[in-house]
């Protein structure tokens, strides 16, 4: 793997809404969050992607041509329009870049990371930018929506001093209808809401991906400093991880979700950013992406010699900062036409 992660950035919108504001509107808050992020009235997944991407590129330093861009989101602004055209120009990327878009599932973040890695290894590109940016929505009365937030994370890849490198992977797919889906033209995600059924899918697919990775690489759970996994929700995933032998210390890196919310495809990459900001060189991180319905990737990321640079690159103070809005403003933003 010649290209490593040379810089990364995370972006949280300014607006926040609290658990109590949601509970006041609906009688209870159906998600295990303290507070969460909300897109501003002048923001969308493209503007968030630009912010995180710019930070990642600045931290990586200059890069030459021959670039690939991998963008991941379950909520791109348009159903059909190349995000790369806008992103490429907003980030001043070379115009001959090769771009991939990863949509349709909250697994898209790890899917994009693996795809970009493959592009870099195959010499389609020397430099890469991975951006995941998401702002999922469900019907306001659906407890699923109570936990949905907004965020973006971006990772620049190049041949400079590596902050981290992406390594082995194991993936699983299976058909589980009725799990977190959205029909074309609909903005709101639905789910049949049967916890034992979701649990079965999770154990088979997410659990299967982790077990497959451990088996094929010969590694054990204890070899990892952190396990980044918050999908479909930290509670059910946390329980599964516990059954697989991962400790509370290894999972502690996932706590940010309680202050940000479910950020769809961006979740594993935000988690990776948090983990790297706490790692020492040589630490291994297990990053798991999961898309209900279902698919999972379990990917190993190793902290490189330059990981010290990343100490201030995680979510940091932004978790506690922000401007708290009330439910009325939240509802108006959720309701806008485009």
């Amino acid at each position: 793997m010649k290209s490593g992660i040379t810089g990364f950035g995370v972006y949280l919108p300014q607006f926040r809404i609290t658990r109590s504001a949601i509970a006041k509107a609906w009688g209870r808050c159906g998600a295990a969050i303290e507070r969460k992020t909300v897109l501003g009235f002048d923001e969308d997944t493209l503007t968030m992607a630009t912010d995180a991407g710019r930070t990642a590129l600045e931290r990586a330093g200059s890069s030459q041509g021959n670039t690939a861009l991998s963008f991941a989101s379950t909520t791109p602004v348009y159903g059909e329009r190349p995000s790369a055209g806008s992103l490429g120009m907003m980030l001043s990327l070379p115009d001959n870049l090769f771009a991939t878009e990863h949509l349709s599932s909250t697994r898209a973040g790890t899917e994009a990371m693996v795809a970009l890695g493959a592009l870099l290894q195959s010499d389609i590109a020397e430099n890469g930018l991975l951006v995941a940016s998401d702002a999922p929505q469900a019907a306001p009365e659906n407890p699923l929506d109570h936990g949905f937030g907004a965020a973006a994370a971006a990772f620049a890849f190049g041949s400079g001093e590596a902050v981290a490198t992406v390594g082995e992977r194991y993936s699983m797919v299976a058909d589980y209808p009725g799990q977190r889906f959205r029909v074309q033209g609909q903005r709101e995600v639905e789910d049949i809401g049967v916890p034992p059924y979701s649990g079965q899918a999770l154990a088979q697919v997410l659990g299967g991906a982790i077990k497959g990775l451990l088996k094929t690489t010969g590694k054990e759970g204890k070899d990892f400093r952190f396990v980044v996994a918050v999908q479909p929700d930290p509670k059910s995933t946390g329980r599964l991880l516990g059954r697989l032998g991962f400790t509370a210390e290894q999972q502690a890196v996932n706590a940010w979700q309680g202050k940000v919310g479910d950020v769809g495809a961006a979740a594993p990459l935000l988690g990776l950013a948090e983990a790297l900001s706490q790692c020492d060189a040589g630490d291994s991180i297990l990053v798991v992406g999961y898309g209900p319905g279902a698919g999972a990737d379990a990917v190993i990321v190793e902290a490189g010699p330059a990981v010290e640079k990343a100490r201030t690159w995680g979510l940091g103070d932004s978790l506690e900062q922000g401007e708290v809005i009330d439910y009325t403003v939240y509802a108006k933003i959720r309701n806008r036409p485009l």
Binding site: G40, D42, T47, D51, M89, M90, S92, E323, I333, L338
Partner: protein, 139 residues
């Protein structure tokens, strides 16, 4: 209807809206933003393109009530009741007028350090128009 900037005209201004491309006058060295045919300061016509950093300070500001804003901002006006607009003096010396983002009215002061961000400005016929705004520098 509001100002109605056609899509091709909007597209021609993307180097300014996305990348803050200005023009340094080769005669007097001052930065013109947006670029024009003749230098705003000395009147001559030779330029070199320069991408501005996006860092600057609030030189002056006002608050435009949503009811007084152009109809392009009707959607935003459903969420906020006014728009802070500032003249930002960029570190290269050029002056830009722009909306401020991510700050309350009380936080806006002359001298406030700001940085450029790209945000939705407005949509017309389902074509989203993006461009620059300035927010207080995030530490």
């Amino acid at each position: 209807m509001g100002a109605h900037l056609s899509v091709p005209m909007y597209r021609r201004s993307l180097p300014q809206r996305y990348q803050l491309v200005g023009a340094r006058c080769t005669a007097c060295q001052r930065i013109n933003f947006p670029p024009k045919a003749a230098c705003n300061y000395c009147g001559t016509g030779g330029f070199e393109e320069v991408r501005l950093s996006g860092r600057g300070k609030v030189f002056s500001f006002t608050k435009i009530a949503a009811a007084a804003a152009p109809p392009e901002f009707d959607e935003d006006a459903k969420v906020v009741s006014s728009f802070p607009v500032a003249l930002v003096e960029l570190e290269e010396g050029a002056m830009i007028m722009a909306h401020l983002a991510d700050c309350d009215d009380e936080d806006v002061k002359i001298g406030l350090e700001v940085e450029m961000v790209i945000r939705r400005i407005y949509a017309e016929e389902n074509v989203m128009r993006y461009g620059y705004k300035f927010r207080p520098v995030r530490k």
